[in-house]
């Protein structure tokens, strides 16, 4: 081995020394490649593992926590829900369509690998400003790629979020989430148990695509990254549809001992992880691997990240049955090896052993680092917000339409109308409300799901930002009538070797952990995406939270839009003197500063319990969480669904008008309800010590906001709606 060649593979000198010590010899080229991908941050979490331990991961309902392909939570009736979110940021930056499409393909495989039928997709997307042509190209490609994959495979894309900020211009974030449903006693795991069992590879042929994809994901983007386009894979959703159906058929028949998808680090990862989890070894004959091209070396076959491939372990007497099922689905399946007892992953090509290493050393023995951390210098300045220098809002009638047209707040229909969000006919709350809701066939139940993060808050204060991401996701679910169950997270950060970035990471995880503990939503899995930097500039810390909630009776679901003229409008929660980190300051004053809103988790929990009780007892006709844009934006959004106006009167109680109308104080929800239910709602709120203000009524064709007996806004709903609905389409024309 030439000295230092491991550095080109992304391995540190100390890591190379560890490998030599583990093997008792120098690794050969193939082995070095295998260690380099398995010990990359993407596969080994070597920089993040220690910090992630602070997440609460246990709960009564948790059937599978972190460590497998996806987490699983029981939902009663013998059923369970399986879900996970994962990033595909760097591939999407370089090749938007295929990068996003293969991100969707990968997360779907993670779900059906566990034995679950994928029922829904969501995604969390972040781009630079839409005024930039390159950003529009990237967003167009990403959305088309998600649509191309999800629509073809026939899994509805039901929700998500899209944000825009200059920090994402060179490094967009594309996080894809999949939710699946399974019988709780049919969970499958990626375990190569049973010495002598067959190791079967099925799906697409192996090509030279995506080699070192995970290494690429574990470094910063630079101008040279364009040259890494070959590290991006190409997706084949049709192949995956066949794989999905065939694998679920086999799992249903209990024909498989273990199953795992081939994603990052390809065959190397699937073989070593499956063997390691079961404490076994594997002998693999690379000559048996169906290849797309001739002359592929062992190194290329072991590291290829060709998509739409699955590895499974099957008892010898079921081997023929398994092959016949795959044949019926028109799939190539090949027995490529056997499970062994010695714990060694032994790989042969052309009769020669080309790699021979302990499986566990690849999957489990990567070093763990505790990187240095230091509070970033920018923060002290950014947290200072001198409101004395910011004049209070005077023209609400002009500011509100402008804010509604800000791409971060504007309707995202341009995006979701490209996604088939109805296929499988279970989507009972379509995109556009606080959370999507799907019914569960054969039961009275439903599942609500959402993705959330406000990365501006996380930039200003990662601890609070992490807490708020969890709380807002849960709040969206309760507004839909669901009890929050558990969290999957996608932690998108810059280069963790920079102490300032690692400080952000630690703080955000600590904040999320605290919120998960108080709200009773354990983390069951997720993904860490570091190195989201372009030419040294990191994205905002973006700890995206994916959350799933349960409705015992899906008929008791709720949406955000006002339903009937004459209904009362009520605000639960307290509006504080807050404006820091708001969309209003960013859009109207070009300021990203000030402390983000406070979050008191005890108050948040009380609010959520009150809202959920109100929705479940059918007291309210609508429920909408207050987030970006604050009260006025939330109120306008409630008017759009049914084109119903509203008239409200507020008391400023010493707050500035901008704080009152556009501040983003947490733990607030806007409700509408028939007058006759007010007393019952007041009793519920009083029992939970949740502040309640009666503000006005639904009705008419205008949105009227009066503060301290001054009519500040008197705007036709249709005008507001046009601003909100048309903004993104207008940019993308």
């Amino acid at each position: 081995m030439k000295t230092g060649v491991w550095r080109d593979f992304g391995l540190k000198d100390s890591e190379y020394e560890m490998i030599v010590a583990l093997l008792g010899r120098d690794p050969n080229y193939v082995e070095l490649g295998m260690y380099s991908v398995m010990w990359s941050e993407h596969c080994s979490y070597k920089n993040s593992r220690e910090v992630l331990r602070s997440f609460p991961t246990k709960g009564e309902r948790v059937l599978q926590g972190p460590g497998e392909n996806a987490g699983i939570v029981a939902i009663g009736d013998g059923l369970a829900v399986c879900f996970k979110i994962e990033s595909h940021n760097h591939p999407s930056a370089i090749e938007p369509y295929q990068g996003a499409a293969t991100g969707v393909g990968g997360i779907i495989r993670d779900i059906f690998t566990m034995g679950a039928r994928p029922i829904a997709l969501l995604n969390s997307l972040r781009f630079g400003p839409l005024s930039e042509p390159r950003v529009r190209y990237t967003m167009g490609g990403v959305v088309a790629g998600i649509a191309g994959y999800g629509n073809c495979i026939g899994i509805p894309t039901v929700g998500g979020e899209v944000y825009f900020d200059r920090c994402y211009q060179g490094n967009p974030l594309v996080n894809a989430m999949c939710v699946g449903l399974l019988e709780a006693d049919k969970i499958k795991r990626g375990r190569a148990a049973g010495v002598g069992n067959a190791v079967i590879l099925v799906g697409a042929r192996t090509g030279r695509d995506g080699i070192h994809g995970v290494t690429f994901a574990s470094e910063e983007l630079t101008e040279a990254s364009e040259e890494k386009r070959p590290a991006v894979q190409v997706g084949d959703p049709f192949m995956e549809k066949l794989l999905l159906e065939a694998c679920l058929e086999l799992i249903d028949n209990n024909d498989l001992v273990g199953i795992q998808d081939l994603g990052g680090a390809g065959l190397t990862c699937a073989t070593s992880e499956m063997a390691s989890r079961a404490g076994t070894g594997m002998e693999i004959e690379l000559d048996q691997v169906p290849r797309r091209e001739t002359g592929m070396s062992a190194y290329e076959i072991m590291l290829s990240e060709s998509q739409e491939r699955m590895l499974m372990v099957v008892e010898p007497d079921k081997e023929e049955r398994v092959h016949s099922v795959f044949r019926r689905w028109g799939l190539d399946a090949t027995t490529i090896g056997r499970v062994t007892a010695d714990g060694i992953l032994r790989v042969r090509l052309g009769g020669e052993v080309v790699a021979e290493v302990p499986a566990r050393s690849l999957a489990e023995d990567a070093p763990a680092y505790c990187p240095e951390y230091r509070e970033p210098a920018y923060r002290q300045e950014a947290l200072q917000l001198d409101l004395g220098a910011v004049p209070d809002v005077t023209d609400v009638a002009a500011v509100l339409p402008a804010l509604l047209a800000s791409p971060n707040i504007a309707g995202k229909e341009w995006v979701w109308r490209q996604y088939d969000h109805m296929v499988r006919t279970c989507t009972v709350v379509l995109p556009g409300s606080d959370a999507a809701v799907l019914r569960i066939r054969g039961t009275s139940k439903g599942l609500a799901m959402t993705c959330d993060c406000n990365s501006r808050y996380a930039y200003l204060d990662p601890y609070t930002g992490g807490k708020i991401a969890v709380a807002e996701a849960a709040r969206n679910l309760v507004c839909s009538g669901a009890e929050p169950l558990a969290v999957t997270d996608c932690l998108n950060f810059g280069n963790p070797e920079k102490p300032e970035i690692f400080w952000q990471f630690r703080e955000a995880v600590a904040g999320m952990s605290e919120a998960c503990r108080v709200l009773g939503t354990p983390v069951t899995g997720g993904n860490v995406s570091f190195y989201n930097e372009t030419n040294g500039e990191a994205v905002y810390p973006t700890p995206t939270v994916g959350m799933v909630g349960l409705l015992d009776d899906v008929e008791l679901r709720c949406t955000q839009d006002f339903k009937r003229p004459g209904d009362l409008i009520v605000l639960l929660g307290e509006t504080l003197a807050e404006l820091g980190g708001s969309e209003y300051l960013a859009v109207l004053h070009n300021l990203v500063s000030g402390a983000p809103p406070e979050l008191n988790l005890e108050k948040e929990l009380a609010l959520q319990k009150t809202v959920l009780a109100a929705v479940r007892s059918r007291l309210v006709a609508s429920a909408h969480d207050l987030s970006e844009g604050g009260f006025a934006v939330a109120l306008a959004e409630c008017c759009f669904g049914q084109r119903l106006g509203a008239s409200v009167t507020l008391n400023s109680a010493g707050l500035r008008i901008d704080q009152l109308l556009f501040g983003e104080s947490q733990s607030r929800v806007l409700l509408s309800l028939p007058e006759g239910n007010l007393a019952a709602l007041q009793a519920l709120a009083a029992a939970g010590a949740v502040p309640l203000q009666l503000l006005g009524r639904v009705g008419g064709e205008k949105l009227q906001i009066t503060v301290d007996s001054r009519l500040l806004a008197d705007l036709p709903v249709t005008v507001l709606e046009d601003n909100w609905r048309g903004a993104i389409a207008c940019y993308m024309k």
Partner: protein, 231 residues
């Protein structure tokens, strides 16, 4: 009466068609694998939506060579009822059972949304229960639903009543704004000369329960059942 839902590799609305017939309409229904060579015993065949064979070529261009398609064509020629929805419509066009072709949407993007349809011909086996003047709220989900047919054929089709559904505003006006994909004359669905084969881009099986936002799609299935019971 028994329905058959054909399953091509890549079909993904097969489940939804099956569900609406079995669980909502409570009628017998079975899946039919694409390699079947006989469709005996079925009174109405549904070619469901999806992406048969991935639709990497022209939509439906490969599926029409599936073994089952010979039996479908044969059944259609005997006057049997065949309903092609979305990708199923594309396959029927490729198989030559219906006239015309489907281009990419003029937006060049996939579109999933509710549309409103007016029934141009209420005298087919698929539309007998459609009330004149009442629009049907039924969603679409496709990237290639932009119907085209040459002018001569179009005028013949009009005379024969082969234009069955057209995109309209909720109150039944045929306008460019109501056209989601650029289809000629807002055409959403057409039938053959014998009126026993219907292809449409909108998904009636997605509009079968109030929870999904509309029950208007049931009118089409109920018309089929009424027609079969009457004949």
């Amino acid at each position: 009466m028994k329905f058959g839902v054909v399953v091509f590799p890549g079909s993904n609305c097969d489940l939804d068609a099956y569900h609406v017939i079995r669980d909502v309409l409570k009628k017998p229904v079975e899946y039919l694998w694409h390699q079947e060579t006989s469709v005996r015993g079925f009174d109405c065949l549904i070619l469901p939506g999806g992406f048969s064979y991935g639709d990497y070529l022209r939509c439906g261009a490969i599926a029409r060579f599936s073994p089952v398609m010979n039996a479908v064509v044969e059944m259609a020629s005997r006057g049997g009822l065949v309903l092609g929805i979305c990708n199923g419509f594309q396959i029927l066009l490729e198989a030559g059972l219906l006239p015309g072709a489907l281009y990419r949407n003029t937006s060049l993007q996939f579109r999933c949304r509710f549309t409103h349809l007016v029934t141009d011909n209420g005298a087919t086996p698929f539309t007998g229960l459609c009330e004149p003047g009442r629009t049907l709220k039924i969603p679409i989900a496709h990237g290639e639903g932009n119907y085209y047919v040459d002018p001569e054929t179009l005028s013949v089709m009009r005379q024969r009543g082969q234009i069955v559904f057209r995109y309209a505003t909720p109150d039944g006006q045929i306008t460019p704004e109501a056209n989601p994909n650029g289809s000629l004359d807002n055409i959403a669905g057409v039938c053959n000369e014998g009126k026993n084969v219907l292809g449409l881009m909108p998904h009636p099986e997605r509009a079968g329960e109030a929870a999904l936002g509309s029950t208007d799609g049931l009118v089409i299935f109920k018309s089929i059942i009424r027609h079969w019971e009457d004949s």
